[in-house]
C-alpha cells in the first residue's frame, strides 16, 4: 500500500488532530514509512496538553481543603501547575486518588459520606459524555458529596481556529477516531465545505493511519475535498446519539481557554443550570488566578502545528519526560514526549 502513497512534488502537510494518533505514529515509526513529500504535523488533540495552568492550580487549591478527596485520571497527575502538581501535593499528604473511570469517584463518594469528592473533569467529546453520565447518575442516586471541576473541550471549533490562522500550512486533517465515534462526521463538514480541505476520520492501528493518509492523497490528487470515514468499524456519520443527548442535557457550550493557545470561542463545555450543583468551582467558590506559562515553552505553537518540538530551545535539555517543563512533554500523548521517546 505504501507504494500507492503520494509521489507528488510539493510537501503535503497533514495534521493529525488526536494525541492517540501522535503516539501511534511515533511508536510504529510511521513517518519513516511515508514518502518524504508527506509531512505529519501534530495538532491540539491531547486533552492533558491543553488544560490550562490555572486549572491545575485550582485542582491543587481543592486538594488542600480539609475533607476533600480529589479524584483524577492518571494522565493529569504530573502536569505542572504554576507552582506544584498533583503528584507533589499527594506526597505532601493531600487525598488525591487516581481513578480509571469517573464512575469510580461516585463509589468513593458513597463510601465517604462525610467527605467531599471532586473529580477533575477534563477531556474531549470521547470523555465528556462519560462524565456527564456520571453526573446524571449522581443526581439519580442522590449522591450529594460529589462534584466535578469542569474543563471540557470541543474539537471542531478548535480546528476552525487553526484553519483561520494566516500562516497555517495544513493541507488536510487526520481526524480523531473516538471523538468521532461520539459526534459523527457531520460536525467537520465545514472543513471541506468552507476551507476546501480534506479530512479523514482514522482508526488507531498503523494500517488504519496509513490507509487514511492514502485516502487523503487520493482526494488531493483528484482535487476533491470531503470528510471521509476510514474508521468505519467504530464511526457512523451521525455518531452516538445517546451520548450526544446526554452531552446536551448536562452541559452548555462556552468559550474556553486552551493551554498555550488562549481563549477560543465556543470550544468548551461546562455544566448547565440544571446541574450547577455538581460544579465544584461554584460549590467551593473557587477564584481563578491568572498564571503564566513556563518561560521558553513553545507548547502553544506546537499544538497549533506552527512549531516542531525541536524548535524549542528547552527540548531534550531543560525539558525531558523525567523532568518536564511544558504539558506537551508531560502527557504520554504529547507531541514533545512522542518526539523525545521515538523521534
Amino acid at each position: 500500500m505504501i507504494s500507492q502513497l503520494s509521489t507528488q512534488n510539493s510537501k503535503l502537510n497533514i495534521m493529525e488532530v488526536c494525541g492517540t494518533h501522535t503516539m501511534s505514529i511515533a511508536r510504529h515509526g510511521l513517518k519513516k514509512l511515508l514518502p518524504p513529500t508527506v509531512n505529519l504535523i501534530s495538532g491540539p488533540g491531547c486533552p492533558i496538553c491543553v488544560t490550562p495552568v490555572e486549572y491545575i492550580d485550582l485542582a491543587i487549591q481543592l486538594s488542600s481543603i480539609n475533607d476533600v478527596i480529589v479524584t483524577t485520571f492518571g494522565d493529569m497527575y504530573n502536569v505542572p501547575g504554576s507552582k506544584s502538581n498533583m503528584a507533589k501535593e499527594h506526597a505532601k499528604g493531600s487525598d488525591i486518588r487516581i481513578v480509571y473511570s469517573s464512575h469510580d469517584s461516585l463509589d468513593i463518594a458513597e463510601y465517604n459520606p462525610k467527605k467531599e469528592v471532586v473529580f477533575l473533569g477534563v477531556g474531549f467529546e470521547t470523555t465528556s459524555p462519560t462524565i456527564a453520565a456520571t453526573i446524571l447518575a449522581a443526581k439519580q442516586r442522590k449522591i450529594e458529596n460529589f462534584s466535578v471541576l469542569p474543563m471540557f473541550k470541543v474539537i471542531p471549533p478548535a480546528l476552525k481556529e487553526i484553519l483561520n490562522i494566516k500562516e497555517r500550512k495544513i493541507d488536510a486533517f487526520l481526524l480523531p477516531g473516538h471523538v468521532s465515534t461520539i459526534i459523527g462526521s457531520k460536525p467537520y463538514d465545514f472543513i471541506s465545505r468552507d476551507y476546501g480541505i480534506p479530512g479523514v476520520i482514522s482508526g488507531f492501528e498503523p494500517q488504519d493511519i496509513l490507509n487514511s493518509v492514502d485516502m487523503i492523497i487520493a482526494q488531493i490528487k483528484s482535487n476533491r475535498a470531503k470528510i471521509e470515514i476510514q474508521y468505519k468499524r467504530s464511526v457512523e456519520p451521525s455518531g452516538n446519539k445517546t451520548a450526544q443527548n446526554i452531552l446536551k442535557k448536562v452541559y452548555k457550550i462556552v468559550d474556553s481557554n486552551w493551554r498555550g493557545i488562549g481563549k477560543m470561542p465556543k470550544s468548551g463545555m461546562t455544566l448547565n443550570k440544571d446541574f450547577e450543583e455538581f460544579d465544584a468551582s461554584k460549590r467551593f467558590k473557587l477564584k481563578v488566578k491568572k498564571a503564566p506559562e513556563p518561560k521558553g515553552c513553545l507548547c502553544g505553537k506546537v499544538l497549533l502545528g506552527l512549531k516542531a518540538p525541536k524548535d524549542c530551545a528547552l527540548f531534550g535539555n531543560a525539558c525531558t519526560p523525567g523532568d518536564p517543563i511544558g504539558p506537551c512533554m508531560v502527557s504520554s500523548e504529547g507531541t514533545c514526549a512522542a518526539e523525545y521517546k521515538y523521534g
Binding site: 485520571f73 462519560t130 461520539i182
Partner: protein, 72 residues
C-alpha cells in the same frame, strides 16, 4: 487519553452496568451511553463506558494487535 479498547459483554447487571471481557481481563463497564448493547456484543470501551458496538471480527483483530503490542 481518548484511547478505547474493545471487549465482549459477558454479563449484564440489573443497574445497566455490564461485565466486559478484554481478552481475559474482566471489568465492570457502564452501558449508559450505549443502551442498545446486549449480552455477547463486542463493544468499544472508553474510561469505563461502552461507547459503540463492534463487529466480532473487527474486535478480535484489534485485540490481537493490542495483545502483541503489550507482549513486546
Amino acid at each position: 487519553m481518548c484511547l478505547a479498547i474493545p471487549g465482549k459483554i459477558i454479563k449484564i447487571n440489573k443497574d445497566k452496568s455490564a461485565i466486559v471481557d478484554f481478552g481475559g481481563v474482566k471489568r465492570s463497564v457502564q452501558l449508559t451511553l450505549l443502551p442498545v448493547a446486549k449480552l455477547g456484543d463486542y463493544v468499544i470501551v472508553h474510561a469505563g463506558f461502552a461507547i459503540q458496538k463492534l463487529k466480532q471480527k473487527d474486535a478480535e483483530t484489534t485485540l490481537s494487535i493490542l495483545q502483541k503490542a503489550f507482549n513486546n
